[in-house]
Amino acid sequence: MLRYLGSMSRSPLVIDVSRLVKTYSGRNPVRAVRAVTFQVPRGEIFGFLGPNGAGKTTTIRCMLDLIRPTAGRIALFGLDARRDSLVIHRRLGYLPGDVRLPGDLTGKQFLDRCSRMAGLEPVLLPILLERFEVPLERKLRGFSKGMRQMIAIIQAFMCNPELLILDEPTSGLDPLGQRTFNEFVLDEAQQGRTIFMSSHILSDVEKTCQRVGVIRGGELVAVETIERLRERAGQVVIVEFADDVTSDQLQSIGSVQSVERSRSGAYHLKVAGSIDPVIKALARHTVRRLEVEEAPLEEVFLQFYTGGVSGTDERPEDAQPVASSEAAEVRGP
């Protein structure tokens, strides 16, 4: 126990995943996760993004010791995720990606069972029930998808865990439910809770997370702050001129990546990097209208997803495929 307490107090990192590899054995072995490395400090909301089948859930299941890694090391609260799993699991809450609930139980019975399995009182239940309205006396089989998701969120948070591992938490929630969840997560992070959430919905992580890791084909291709991603996405300048200006003239401005012209005659300039040379160049003409918007992050992520961009931080160096035939398939068996 002293060893646990010592390592817990020393470690500022709540999650420390180092060179994680998971290969599903079988007739056609599949390497689902390849040398994934990332860290999450205490109190951070970390988004784990990637397309379907990228390896998000496999990574999460390795962190929870549901799946045993082929290689690499996972430490939560400074403790080994496998050897010290019971101590770790006492301090975390988990929301599975595909929420399945025992239909013969009422919501109240289900939460009571979860609390008994945790061996902890559900101290946060009153707060959670204020935020997420679910009919506790009804059998779970009668719950809609959104209600199932909400009661699964409640069970994850109710015993006041220090770390939350949430696999696609807003899946199935309506826009109101998504907003409630996002507000709740931000409040909880202010209390010092560490939240690790996977998603393939960018808007979720954009609103709540401080940093994101992007996984593609089992490889972590980037770990960056949302701010850095916004910079990477750049800005869009919409400009209408009173005089004649050609696309080529605009394209020649440094930091302009692309130029499009709308039917109304306005130019849409995609700007990467500093906007200063663009403004100075536009000032040489008679400008009728000028708008500057942040470029949507979706494009950056699509580039990550499709392999057009690779990240700058914490990029694994030695991720190698098991065999060339595996490269396309990264899902679990």
Partner: protein, 283 residues
């Protein structure tokens, strides 16, 4: 000033002592199967008591004396025609293993695999619940189911002696017959858990465990019916723990024989635990 919400947030969750949540959950999942088994034991037991006066006119000895029928029932001989004999033939022949052992095998086979299939095992194992504890609580729940089945069986025999005239039991041999049933059902539970430990589909694993019982029954039936296939009878667990025969012959089949299904069941259960501790939980 601290608001009630803030106070709740900063409060550490107090420890809670719960009484075996996995065990109670498993019993809840298996209750329909166990209840159905108990219902049929009561129905058959009471029916035998009801028709016992009429059955005394039937020459059951020559019926059982036929090797084919004797093989189907797993009975060799009937020394006398008493209520205990009829009850043993109708309820505690090898059909008991086939029917009620089959039900328990299905429950055991599905116990873990169903939770893997529907993903509910994730919620348990992401809590401070070790795989060993989960497995042992499942095992304990199935043993509770086994005790329920055997308890209902004993109560039914007792009820028969109270309700129906002429229905008497030699309790020593009736209880020793039930001890043989314990051996059979321990085997069934252990094998079912072994299959469940490595499987990811509830119905498939339950079906496979039931198939083991059916194959055991068939092996014993063909093994005793045909001299050429005599080797097969050693594969059937009922050969080692012939509960019905013990009740009618009032003779213990042998301690070593009794221990074989028990040992196989326990070994299968322990191997299942090792398999479960090392497997990946993937739905």
């Amino acid at each position: 000033m601290t608001t009630p919400s803030a106070a709740l947030r900063t409060a550490r969750a107090r420890q809670r002592r719960g009484a075996f949540p996995i065990l109670t959950a498993t019993l809840r999942e298996s209750q329909m199967l166990i209840a159905a088994a108990c219902f049929y034991i009561v129905a058959i037991g009471l029916l035998v008591g009801l028709i016992f006066p009429a059955m005394t006119t039937i020459d059951l000895r020559s019926y059982i004396g036929n090797s084919a029928v004797g093989s189907l029932l797993g009975m060799r001989s009937l020394p006398e025609s008493t209520f205990a004999t009829y009850l043993a033939v109708e309820l505690y022949s090898s059909f008991f293993l086939l029917l009620f052992g089959g039900v328990l095998a299905y429950a055991a086979g599905a116990s873990i695999a169903r939770n893997v299939e529907d993903g509910t095992i994730d919620l348990a194992l992401a809590r401070p619940v070790s795989r060993t504890r989960l497995y042992l609580e499942k095992w304990a729940a199935l043993l509770v189911g086994m005790v329920a089945i055997l308890g209902v069986s004993l109560l039914t025999g007792w009820a028969d002696t109270l309700i129906f005239s002429g229905a008497t039991l030699n309790w020593r041999w009736f209880l020793l017959g039930h001890l043989e049933l314990v051996s059979l059902l321990l085997f069934v539970v252990g094998v079912g858990l072994l299959i469940s430990a490595g499987a990811s589909g509830g119905r498939t694993a339950g079906g496979a465990a039931t198939a083991v019982v059916v194959v055991g029954y068939l092996a014993q039936t063909f093994g005793t019916a045909s001299d050429r296939l005599a080797f097969l009878k050693y594969l059937g667990p009922y050969f080692y723990a012939p509960a019905g025969q013990v009740m009618v012959e009032q003779r213990w089949a042998g301690t070593w024989q009794f221990l074989i299904p028990v040992t196989v069941g326990l070994l299968a259960g322990v191997v299942g635990l090792l398999v479960f501790r090392h497997r990946d939980i993937t739905a």
